[in-house]
């Protein structure tokens, strides 16, 4: 049912058999090494960034984490989600609610949000799978749940209705409350570390035995089941992980912007933000969502900037809203039509030839 995606399984023996350890390990080692390089680059990056550059970078990081989460469920798990806003929103709102109403540390709130999102996601996916809702049907069911959550949040007093939550700005820096002076590099390093953790989780997962079984279930459910793999369990594992990661992105969103409202948490635009980078970068690849986020994040900012103060030759663009999304809609259409493996997936394929 899903398009064959680039993973280690293509070259590894069928799951369930003992594959020679070094094959998996060498590929995993390469991935970890690449991750290490990325982390080093990100560690020194704030020194070369202006305040504005840093805010774009943070925005890109949040999108990247969200897309990594989406990719785990939809790329590796084969369950196409059109409603990842549901889990991003749960993360963002749990954080806001616990921090604002109860003064709990955002670190704890982040974990709580991740757990709630994982439970909600697993439950939704379980119910859908139980009734054999697959493919496009599953996608729109998740979309409907995200919309349902959006409506609930907009109508429940305790969740701030349409106003959402504003975080209180503390007078002093505090790691415990995740607050620093404006423009502090910590605001970059925290999501960078979260990104690193998510990627490490993805790499470990895809090279683990469970990850291989998950890929087997995705590629051919019947064959996998005949080998004794529990289909339901191996469908739900990536869902839970995916929802956790997306919720963490949501929680950090609230922390960084000091605000979350229904549209920022549960809006359909958030679901789109989860999908587009992963598709542009390459569905079902470790680095695809990151590459995609690197395209989408700065591009949106660049266009917004261009619209605010266009050069003389393009002065008709002044104040034109909608161009940013229109541009990445075109990008999405072109990629889906002509490069279905995405940027990273296509590069990977060339290299292997």
């Amino acid at each position: 049912m899903s398009r064959p995606v680039e993973t280690a399984t293509e070259h590894a023996p069928a799951p369930g058999q003992d594959s020679p350890g070094w094959v998996r390990d060498r590929r995993a080692r390469l991935q970890y090494a690449a991750l290490g390089v990325v982390m080093v680059v990100m560690a020194v990056m704030p020194y070369g960034l202006t305040d504005r550059g840093e805010s774009i970078a943070v925005r890109t990081l949040i999108i990247a984490i969200l897309a990594i989460g989406w990719n785990l469920m939809s790329g590796y798990g084969g369950l196409f989600s059109f409603g990842h806003a549901a889990f991003f929103g749960i993360g963002a709102y749990t954080d806001a609610y616990l921090v604002v109403e109860h003064g709990i540390s955002p670190w704890i709130a982040m974990v709580v949000g991740a757990v709630i999102a994982a439970l909600a996601g697993t439950l939704i996916a379980y119910l859908c799978l139980r009734y054999r809702l697959a493919g496009a049907y599953f996608a729109l069911a998740t979309f409907a749940f995200a919309q349902l959550f959006l409506l609930v949040v907009q109508n429940v007093e305790a969740l701030g209705k349409t106003e959402g939550f504003n975080l209180e700005i503390l007078p002093e820096d505090s790691w415990w409350m995740m607050q620093f002076e404006s423009g502090s590099s910590n605001y970059f390093w925290i999501p960078a570390a979260l990104l690193g953790l998510s990627l490490a989780l993805v790499i470990a997962f895809t090279h683990s035995r469970t990850g291989q079984r998950v890929a087997a279930v995705r590629d051919d459910e019947v064959a996998a089941e005949s080998l004794g793999i529990s289909v339901m369990r191996h469908r739900l594992v990536p869902v839970a992980l995916s929802c956790m990661i997306s919720a963490v992105a949501g929680a950090y969103y609230t922390q960084y912007y000091f605000y979350v409202g229904p549209q920022q948490g549960f809006g359909a635009a958030v679901s789109v933000e989860a999908i587009v980078p992963a598709v542009i970068g390459g569905i079902g690849t470790v680095w695809g969502p990151v590459v995609g986020a690197l395209v989408v994040g700065p591009l949106a900012e660049l266009i917004t900037e261009l619209l605010r103060s266009p050069p003389d030759s393009l002065s008709f663009l002044q104040g034109l809203t909608g161009l940013d999304v229109a541009v990445y809609a075109v990008l999405l259409i072109v990629i889906v039509r002509f490069m279905p493996r995405g940027i990273f997936g296509t590069l990977q394929r060339w290299r292997r030839r």
């Binding site: 049912m1 899903s2 196409f80 496009a136 409907a144 809203t321 809609a329 259409i333 889906v336």
Partner: protein, 334 residues
């Protein structure tokens, strides 16, 4: 008895029992619906006049919902793809009507007649150029992503051209009709009748013409249809075109009733999806019944839950459907 006969017979039995259970469910839903409406009248603690008004509006609204959903369900039934751009195509046709009204001073319903072939052509070309290859390759995600991209593109291009300022086509017909104490504007009545007429026409085309036959053939077995000489790609394109044309009619009929913004149709994508799931994916008649139910749920619900609250009820119906009867009212075994 040969094997073939056995298979045929058991298939017929399955079909028959499926139909019977669909009938039972329909009767059940009708009974629940009537009981629910009676309860609203008797113990609902709302003015009976308001309730009648809500029911009448709900039925008329449901007719238009049904038309949008018919397009969606047809595309799903034949192509197997969920058209995520259905709502934004609705918006696009509304703006098409609006520009014709504003620039040439054309009456709304005449403009609608012009919008229909334009949208049909657009749907045809989109399917032929962008979607056919993905549809024929048989994966679900490609077409879904493509229609998502189209939806984003349409909405944001409209935003760039017309800005987000709400606009209106003005009144199409003055006056209203009083039925059982409920006041119904002629615009709503025309919208309802138009929607019903188009749906019936579509059903007749599907059931009675050779073109309808080729569509149904492709829907049930594309490979087999291709073998007997049906051009599957062309049928796909025509079907998508028809889906777009349905939306154009709905857009024109609804244009006088709404305040237009580029995002006005977004809500309909999900509403239409809920309706289609409720009626049974791919089932045209189911989409009509589903449309009426959702229209009623929304208007009667808004007596109790103002604003966006009534949409929660709509999703409540959706979640119930998913878990009690995921194949929908008229869906066979999936």
């Amino acid at each position: 008895m040969s094997d073939a006969q056995v298979v045929e017979q058991s298939a017929a039995e399955v079909d028959e029992s499926g139909r019977r259970s669909a009938r039972n469910v329909l009767v059940g839903i009708l009974a629940t619906g009537v009981a629910g409406l009676l309860a609203v009248y008797l113990v609902g603690d709302r003015d009976p006049g308001l309730v009648t008004q809500a029911i009448a509006t709900g039925i008329l609204l449901g007719g238009v919902y049904a038309l949008v959903s018919v397009g969606l369900t047809l595309i799903f039934g034949v192509l197997g793809i969920v058209n995520f751009a259905q709502g934004s195509m609705l918006t696009l046709s509304m703006y098409l009507v609006l520009s014709l009204v504003q620039s040439v001073g054309m009456p709304v319903y005449v403009a609608t007649l012009l919008a229909v072939p334009v949208m049909f052509g657009l749907g045809y070309v989109l399917q032929l150029t962008l979607l056919n290859k993905l549809t024929l390759s048989g994966n679900h995600e490609g077409p879904l992503l493509m229609t998502l991209g189209l939806s984003l593109l349409i909405v944001n291009v409209l935003l760039m051209v017309f800005s987000g300022r709400p606009q209106s086509v003005g009144t199409a017909i003055e006056g209203s009709l009083r039925v059982f104490g409920a006041l119904l504007s002629w615009e709503r009545i025309v919208a309802f009748l138009g929607a019903v007429a188009v749906t019936i026409a579509l059903t007749v085309i599907l059931r009675r013409t050779s073109f309808g036959l080729s569509i149904r053939a492709v829907a049930s077995n594309p490979g087999g249809a291709a073998l007997v000489g049906v051009n599957v790609g062309r049928v796909y394109a025509l079907t998508f075109g028809i889906g777009a044309a349905c939306v154009a009619v709905a857009g024109g009929l609804m244009a006088p009733l709404v305040s237009m913004t580029p995002t006005v149709g977004e809500e309909f994508t999900i509403l239409a999806f809920v309706i289609v799931v409720l009626g049974g994916l791919g089932n045209v008649f189911g989409a009509m019944i589903g449309g009426l139910i959702i229209g009623l749920v929304q208007t009667v619900g808004s007596l109790y839950l103002p604003g966006t609250g009534s949409l929660i009820l709509v999703f409540g119906v959706f979640v119930l459907t998913l878990f009690l009867r995921p194949q929908g009212i008229f869906g066979g075994a999936r």
